[in-house]
Symmetry: D2
Subunit: 353 residues, 4 copies
Amino acid sequence: MENSEKRVGIEQILVGVVGAGSMGGMHARNLQSRVAGARLAAVADLDTDRAGKIAKGSGSAVFRDAVELIRDDGVEAVVIASPNATHAELTLECLRVGKPVLCEKPLATTAEDALKVVEAEVELGRKLIQLGFMRRFDNQHVAVKEAVASGAIGAPLLFRGWHRNPQVVPSLVTSESIVLDSMIHDLDSVRWLFGREIDEVYTRGISTKPALEGTHDLQLTQMSVGGEFLASVEVYVAAEYGYEVGLEVVCESGTAHVAPFDEAVVRRDAAQYQRIDTNPFDRFQPAFMTEMQQWTGALRSGEHPEGPDAWDGYAALVVAESCIASLGSGSPQSVTVPERPTLYRNEGLGVVR
Amino acid sequence: MENSEKRVGIEQILVGVVGAGSMGGMHARNLQSRVAGARLAAVADLDTDRAGKIAKGSGSAVFRDAVELIRDDGVEAVVIASPNATHAELTLECLRVGKPVLCEKPLATTAEDALKVVEAEVELGRKLIQLGFMRRFDNQHVAVKEAVASGAIGAPLLFRGWHRNPQVVPSLVTSESIVLDSMIHDLDSVRWLFGREIDEVYTRGISTKPALEGTHDLQLTQMSVGGEFLASVEVYVAAEYGYEVGLEVVCESGTAHVAPFDEAVVRRDAAQYQRIDTNPFDRFQPAFMTEMQQWTGALRSGEHPEGPDAWDGYAALVVAESCIASLGSGSPQSVTVPERPTLYRNEGLGVVR
Amino acid sequence: MENSEKRVGIEQILVGVVGAGSMGGMHARNLQSRVAGARLAAVADLDTDRAGKIAKGSGSAVFRDAVELIRDDGVEAVVIASPNATHAELTLECLRVGKPVLCEKPLATTAEDALKVVEAEVELGRKLIQLGFMRRFDNQHVAVKEAVASGAIGAPLLFRGWHRNPQVVPSLVTSESIVLDSMIHDLDSVRWLFGREIDEVYTRGISTKPALEGTHDLQLTQMSVGGEFLASVEVYVAAEYGYEVGLEVVCESGTAHVAPFDEAVVRRDAAQYQRIDTNPFDRFQPAFMTEMQQWTGALRSGEHPEGPDAWDGYAALVVAESCIASLGSGSPQSVTVPERPTLYRNEGLGVVR
Amino acid sequence: MENSEKRVGIEQILVGVVGAGSMGGMHARNLQSRVAGARLAAVADLDTDRAGKIAKGSGSAVFRDAVELIRDDGVEAVVIASPNATHAELTLECLRVGKPVLCEKPLATTAEDALKVVEAEVELGRKLIQLGFMRRFDNQHVAVKEAVASGAIGAPLLFRGWHRNPQVVPSLVTSESIVLDSMIHDLDSVRWLFGREIDEVYTRGISTKPALEGTHDLQLTQMSVGGEFLASVEVYVAAEYGYEVGLEVVCESGTAHVAPFDEAVVRRDAAQYQRIDTNPFDRFQPAFMTEMQQWTGALRSGEHPEGPDAWDGYAALVVAESCIASLGSGSPQSVTVPERPTLYRNEGLGVVR
């Protein structure tokens, strides 16, 4: 095999992953087995044992300090999958060293902080940030958007979304964190589908379990979009039965919605059964894989990645904060997303593929 | 055959139908061919030709005047399928002569008028009125309610409904009439499913076609129910593609929703197809038949019909008027349904079957 | 009510039911509650208590002797739902007294006996017999046949059928009785769908349970039809999980198959569920109702009923006997159905509706 | 980047692809973009331009002579996707040089030639050959097999398979080639599902289009398996409407079948639509990717690939030749597969995963 490196000289992009939890581990595994043309070059985590386990077998470097990983010469691109509170600062560091970064949502813990990231990127003058709104790479979301974009059923009028998690750890969630961590995906989906900003939200919530008393673990938001469209999204993080995310779009002369469950059908005991996923990693595994293949593929070929950008991360946070305000006030809340800077025009809201 | 009447002496209930339009015609046909133990005895319509065509072949009497039909000795029970504006007055006439009546929705054109009917029935002291909320007899609605009632998926938390008509005649509808004629069905479904009253509504609407400018032909209502549950219903009366009514109920530990389309599956031209109904008469034909079989069956056996009653007709109108107010004000609207009179307790909100 | 009979003088056909078992009881109940224009006039069973229970409340006469019922002046039309061994003789009695008869399948216990019935009807010169192949009235079978007949997917080429019963009483079945009682339905479906006779069968069977040792409770028949088409039908009478009947037709440029299960969808415990019927009476209740409505409707209006006729009953038996011969010999078996007498031409194989 | 190769020293398996047609091109693309840990090292085709196009951008070597590629030091493992007639000889060459080979089906054009390959591998004493029966890596096939293997629905009794191609070039197919190229997949699926050999086949065929006169483009085979089970498979290579492969397995107490189409659902024009694939590359893309990921993954880790082996290739050909004989004779044909050599015991028929 000694001569093989000479003969097959394909460049591989060297990726560093910050955060060795379930999300970082998932990205690392994809890099190691399902993405050609990229290598897991480094893993950072305060818990270096955890980082080491993920790096193991791939010869990747291990860092305790995320900033050190970002600055390391052996890292060409960065994935940020560390706790939310670190996202803005680490993303800014990537901008400082000029390295492309795939940052898990949310971009920051407040819209104000997210705006600072946007402003830094505008100042830099080129887009380096992709947000981890992986649904934009999900076959079913893409298929629904393409069905709408085909024109065969007219313009989209109403978005209906549902998003269910089997359970949460009561001590780790609040009504607000459910908006910022979960509903933010659905808010991005609405923006992405319409290619328009949300301008009003009315969020109601209920607490469905004694252990979650005081927390609105089931939330329903009715929205106005772009001054002329409607949306309704449900988020239920204690749904017990499984993990499910879906959307239906009602258009002028037809509708499009996600496919039936793609699981083998079993008939027994006077019933027909199909298995349902119980966590987002199973449900969105192909989307995470495609997200990584397309992001690293674009970096290798020198093209701009077409995924969601910092502006999408910022705008989703503006809407999320309005949902939180509505939950608190019990009234509809106007949403004002500022004008999009030139850097983000005509990008980021198109069909990804 | 001369001796047959003697040997087979089953009593048949004699039913008079007021209104010979599409709804009255449908009820008359069911009475003539799909309901044992009842006979179409009379048809009334200002257009006696139209009434005659429906009566033809069944030996039924034809009336121009609905009140005359109601008072006629040959009529034992009355179906009211005439224009909305006549419902309250004709129902009151039935109460006056003590004849059971199946009145198409809405019970009246205002909640105030509906309340008068309720008060008259309370005064009479016995229930004679059934409202034509036929969805309560639809297999799919009943199956979803039974799945919820089984307890296997916990208490119901959120109702999601959709209701689409292919088209309307622009000159015949307004934003308000769409609430009163179409969304009222969905409001009844919410009340029926939860067995609780709706206490807040927030209705938004858009106009989807130039011909419908100024009319909110697509309406979305987010509701609070019984102080602790949520609901969202969509009504779109210019949906073009077909007629569709559905519901999904999210419960504590599971969900239940209507069945897939029960149509043969055809594969051709790189696609799989299933036909969709284009009008409510096809979609709800079995429900209308069951409604009539159960109503006349109960009358024959001397039992109280278990279908929706005058109170349901009144309460749905109270909510509908709140939706109209919300559409106008752009704000959520509190709904106050008065306390239910004794006559209507423990009845009318149970599973029908 | 005294004047009502005068005013509503619709004739009702008086129907006598022979056999008070589950099949006869089902027909009687349909006549009593779901079929307008017909009355249950008499019930016959050796067990007159059982007959009496069914007749109860309808004022029907009760007979011990089926022949007496058939000859009774108060009976205008006869349903035969007694044991198979009596079918041929009782049907011949109906021909003798000139009364229309709906005979449950099989028409006889041998093709030879069935031919005698056919010959008697040909001798009589008019069709009085309808066979109880109720699938021809099933919405799904009709929808598949109509999809094929529409021409949109080309000519039919291949029929695939499946037919599963949850269980049988081992002492009551043999490999042969399963062909004669169960597979005969599928053989009729093949003939009906193609409008052609089956000309070769190859039947293989296995015994799936210790209690059924020696009995082929799972049978698979591959057929040639009309010299140019193919079919494969499966019959499994100990399938345990439920009752299911389906068909798929492969055509030149597309396929058509039965609809998905029309049951509410419940999601819980990491799975999606739909209930499956467990017996033919639930699955085919609407078909039995339509069969009776159309048969009595045709008799009232003086038209020929369009359902399956004596020839269909005979031809299905000829094929069934060939399947039994194939099971025994382990070889494909040619089937020779004689030429159809003029009385049965151009009738009975069309789409029923 | 100069230091990256040192730091990330994962070995990559060097794969040569023989045949630059649609199948070889597909394998090459998977190696280049969706399989980590492997590289496309060489492509061989008599048409070196065609080979060059596939190799382009990956730095792979191009060969005119397949044998030269197989013998080349820069090739560690070989994919054979050249015309069927070359399979046996090239596979034997791989055995001679001791390189692992993934050979597209069929292993040879006759069972006799396939046996020679088997004998050479037995002589060699270790398994180097994997057969390209990619369905064993298809999620749906695997899910159905796992549902059966779970024991929840009892032992498998009956396999029902269907396999439809939209069209073929009439001049390129014969009744025999359809068995050898298409039905051979279904025959392997039957063997794989039951883990038993097929012992009798009865194949009937019809010609469905004037252009295919004399060719049985629709074939139906009824089988006996392992002396106690049944199977029926349909192959229709001029089905026009799309590409579809499915299976249903009937077990003692339940059934399992492939999932519904995983395509977004669009409602318009009074119908519900879902797209159907039109070629095997779309339908089985994920299976081809998994096949390649697992094969190269096993080679890298030094484990035996668990996919189908040379014996599976041989046994499928023995059955296929019996189907051809049955088509010719019009009679059922016994199948005698010899005893499996020790090398192939306890391997190759298990669930892949």
